[in-house]
């Protein structure tokens, strides 16, 4: 018998419904409670299960973080990279260490901030945030993590459209999409998400799209300390819940139609 859990979990969308109760026998080393975000063999904070292959040597990290400090004035450009190289005490020609040029700065920002988000999840600050409300649900956690991550863009937000342009460049599209997905994955891991069915994908995809949309909104946000961005984020999260419901209903409808067709064929004598 095929359980119909996938649709149910889809319907619950971002609310983080998990099917552990049903699947526990399949997950032997699984010992932590749903709200516990530490110490699980399934969760590696900071390092997403989807690594985009970017690891940095100390020298590369020095150069790229120096380059990043020039981004507010220079933008994501070759000259920011060149200044980073010179700041780190190397030669003009050393920029050849980064074959993707300015996109390497963008990627460095994405990767390091994602890793820091993982570290944030183990910090005292995160525990405080969690205990600030009576009932701190999964959506609250996701919201807090999105805000935390977006806040880290604030110094360079006026240059972020350049980064988005670089990320959309066809040769970079794959690694930037993967990086976005890794970010969503990291966030879900922090909330303690443990789904092992189709909703694993839908959750991450929905969160990726919400995050990307909010990030784009943020580049145009002129309000005090990005208040509008946070309300935008709230609306998207609310949408996602209804979207999860819609997907769930569509799933039910497809299921219903499938059985109908099979039954009609059976009634015609087909041995299915």
């Amino acid at each position: 018998m095929i359980p119909r859990t996938p649709y149910r979990t889809l319907r619950h969308g971002l609310r983080g419904y998990n099917i552990r109760a049903r699947w526990t026998p399949l997950l032997p080393s699984y010992q932590f409670s749903r709200n516990d975000s530490n110490g699980s063999p399934f969760m590696n904070h900071g390092r997403s299960s989807f690594s985009s292959g970017a690891t940095y040597t100390p020298e590369q990290a020095t150069i790229l973080s120096a380059a990043l400090s020039h981004v507010p004035t220079q933008g994501f450009t070759d000259s920011a990279l060149l200044m980073g190289v010179k700041d780190a005490g190397y030669l003009d020609v050393t920029t050849n260490l980064f074959p993707q040029g300015p996109f390497d700065i963008v990627k460095y920002h994405l990767v390091t901030q994602r890793e820091r988000l993982g570290e944030f999840a183990t910090s005292e600050e995160w525990k405080e945030v969690q205990s600030s409300k009576q009932r701190f649900g999964t959506t609250d956690k996701i919201r807090a993590l999105c805000i935390e991550r977006l806040r880290r863009n604030r110094n360079i937000i006026h240059r972020w459209p350049e980064a988005i342009a670089l990320m959309k460049y066809p040769t970079n599209l794959q690694s930037s999409t993967l990086e976005l997905f890794s970010l969503a994955d990291t966030m879900w891991n922090i909330t303690g998400d443990t789904t092992v069915d189709v909703s694993w994908y839908t959750k991450r995809c929905i969160l990726s799209s919400i995050y990307a949309a909010t990030e784009v909104y943020m580049t145009q946000d002129k309000s005090e300390s990005f208040a509008n961005t946070w309300t935008f984020l709230d609306r998207r999260l609310a949408d996602s819940r209804s979207m999860g419901t819609t997907i769930g209903r569509m799933g039910q409808y497809v299921d219903y139609a499938r059985y109908n067709i099979i039954n009609v064929l059976r009634s015609k004598g087909l041995k299915i």
Binding site: K86, L91, D92, V93, N96
Partner: protein
């Protein structure tokens, strides 16, 4: 089988058949470089010279023979064999490296073009530094083991109006063994390039170690070299072409089949992209990105390593 026996009769010690096209081509290829010397003492280390194994001490002179005989027709042959694509590769190579100082606070670059021979890369470097980066001070040292090739380069430099004598000459020519570079001091070079040269080195590890020695901290080692075609079907076509057409072209255009037979054999013998990137890393360089960039499906590849 009979073909292999024929090979042995002619003095071939080692044959590496490659697909169906390899061995049969040997019959004509070896006579010239089998110079009648008895193989060096049995305990001496051997290296490959095309598909042959020769004593390490002999490879250098054999490679010299090859390039002595092709120097005159070198560029014509390159154009004919690659349908002119080698020019695009070299342009891409230089553009990517972007030589020349980029700000008034920078020192002009010292570029060493190893195995630079006829100056193909060197002139492009100078041109790029001047026209793109507005830097007339960047200098190129062209180093080659072969005087004939350097003479061709010198001729071209003079016809282009470059001064080649004196300390501050924009381009200078120097006969040196690339494996040792005795005349080049440590930590003195910004950018060391080698285009279609490292294949012919007897000891590639030693050459890489020397490159590491002469480069400044932050200096870049860049190598343009034939590599392995990744696509199986294209590779079959490429192998057919290189083993059947190129030696014939060599015979018709340069009147020298053996040198071009050596060329295609040495390409097959050269390590793959991944292996060569590993060698660069082992010499102490940090790879740029994954370490290489394929050109034309991997017929050639640009390898980049940085000394940090």
């Amino acid at each position: 089988m009979s073909i292999r026996c024929a090979g042995r009769r002619l003095g071939l010690k080692h044959i590496q058949p490659r697909g169906s096209i390899g061995p049969r081509l040997f019959s004509s290829s070896i006579s010239r470089f089998q110079d009648g010397k008895p193989a060096a003492a049995a305990e001496e280390r051997t290296t490959h010279f095309g598909f042959q194994n020769v004593a390490e001490s002999l490879k250098e002179s054999k490679v010299r023979d090859v390039f002595n005989s092709v120097a005159k027709n070198y560029d014509t042959m390159n154009d004919a064999m690659s349908f002119g694509i080698h020019r695009l590769w070299k342009d891409q190579f230089v553009q990517q490296l972007n030589p020349g100082k980029k700000s008034i606070f920078s020192e002009p670059m010292t570029i060493l073009d190893l195995a630079g021979g006829t100056g193909d890369i060197a002139f492009r470097m100078l041109d790029h530094a001047r026209t793109v980066n507005g830097d007339p001070e960047t200098r190129v040292k062209v180093v080659d083991i072969n005087e004939e090739m350097l003479r061709e380069g010198m001729k071209r430099a003079h016809s282009l109006g470059y001064r080649t004598e004196g300390e501050d000459a924009p381009i200078s020519f120097l006969v040196q063994n690339g494996e040792t570079l005795e005349a080049i001091p440590d930590n003195s070079i910004d950018l060391l390039t080698i285009a279609f040269g490292i294949r012919n080195f007897t000891d590639k590890e030693k050459a890489l170690a020397t490159a590491y020695r002469v480069l400044k901290k932050g200096g870049v080692f860049a190598c343009l070299e034939f590599s392995k075609v990744n696509n199986f079907v294209l590779d079959q076509i490429y192998q057919r072409y290189s083993f059947s057409v190129i030696p014939m072209m060599g015979q018709l255009i340069a009147g020298d089949r053996d040198s071009y037979q050596y060329l295609v054999e040495s390409i097959v013998k050269f390590p793959s992209q991944k292996d060569f990137a590993r060698m660069i890393q082992d010499a102490g360089f940090q790879l740029a990105g994954k370490g290489w960039q394929d050109l034309t499906f991997g017929v050639a590849a640009i390898h980049t390593g940085v000394k940090l």
